[in-house]
Symmetry: C2
Subunit: 207 residues, 2 copies
């Protein structure tokens, strides 16, 4: 049988403060069979960081070239450094049958959707907006104005939910992980992914 | 918050001999939160069978009336008795938030698809056609001709896979159950099912 199932690109995103990093870390701890995407960055390597393991380290010029050549699924600049997702790494992993997970901000997810619409877009949502406020407030001793403006951003990010395939409520980290694992397993059972396998089966059948 | 999530109608079907009944029984044993549909039948109650629990017992006339009034999602006749799935029972359960599972033959599933396209159609598939043949042969001491004709039917039933949403391989019963549970959980996370909930949330928000 010559059917080889491809992997999935899973994009996990959601409003700031919802707990994307925590959920991703929990998935890793569980040993969920997901390959973590490696970002390209113009940031200098820190001690112990290995090129191609922690990041793909690039010069500004190389990074700029990747953007121009469409080699990045998405990219953004934070405090003077650029970060992006190399499309080749993602495509090669998927062709090899690996499910790749990408944990990014909502703006990045929209960029991915334009370039890779066949990805699986999962929106991590807070159980309610009060809870999100608690989490934003809980982060430190920000002023009321700053909290207010962060809530405004978070609410506008919530509006982007409709661009996603799935919504996973992050009421409890373990439950959120269960849902993400279920979504990935279910997507592998979708008829359009598997029908080729059974067509191959019928072709090879000698009964 | 006035959002109430509806249940799903899960239709589990697949070729004869694939093990639909075994998988359904295993789901019950596991305690998977699924409500089993109750069939209407013209068959006489056997000892211990309770109307509205094991079956809805109907006269021929009542059953015919249900067909004419579109009260059956699907129906079929076996050895002189009619069996069908009452649409009201299914709809009421779903409205109450229960996930209902229906284990039926492929012809019945096609009938349900016409009347209830929003249901979730899961095709239980054999790991390969040889395995299906083993199972069909293993049932008894049928003649080669009968086995051949059953295989013909099974193959034609395999062609109907494309009408389904998901394909679950029944390589191992427990694995098949895992996949079915994942599909149901994932479907509850689909954005089109949940977006209303978050619209309600935003409407109620006073932050």
């Amino acid at each position: 049988m010559s059917f080889k199932e491809k992997g999935l690109l899973v994009v996990l995103s959601g409003p700031s403060g919802v707990g994307k990093g925590t959920v991703c870390k929990a998935l890793r701890t569980r040993g969920t069979r997901l390959k973590y995407s490696i970002s390209a960055t113009t940031r200098k390597p820190r001690e112990g960081e290995v090129n191609g393991v922690h990041y793909f380290f690039k010069t500004r010029e190389q990074f700029q070239q990747m953007i121009e050549q469409g080699k990045l699924l998405e990219w953004a600049e934070y405090v003077g450094n650029c970060y992006g997702t190399p499309v080749d790494y993602v495509r090669e992993s998927i062709e090899a049958g690996d499910d790749v997970i990408l944990e990014i901000e909502v703006q990045g997810a929209l960029q991915v959707k334009r370039k890779f619409p066949e990805a699986l877009f999962i929106f991590l949502a807070p159980p309610d907006l009060e809870e999100l406020k608690h989490r934003i407030v809980g982060r430190g001793t920000e002023s009321a104005d700053l909290i207010e403006s962060r809530m405004m951003v978070a609410k506008s990010e919530m509006e982007l939910m409709q661009n996603y395939n799935y919504v996973v409520e992050n009421d409890q980290v373990e439950k959120a992980c269960d849902r993400i694992e279920a979504i990935v397993l279910a997507e592998h059972c979708r008829v359009d992914r598997l029908i080729e396998k059974y067509t191959v089966m019928k072709g090879n059948d000698e009964t």
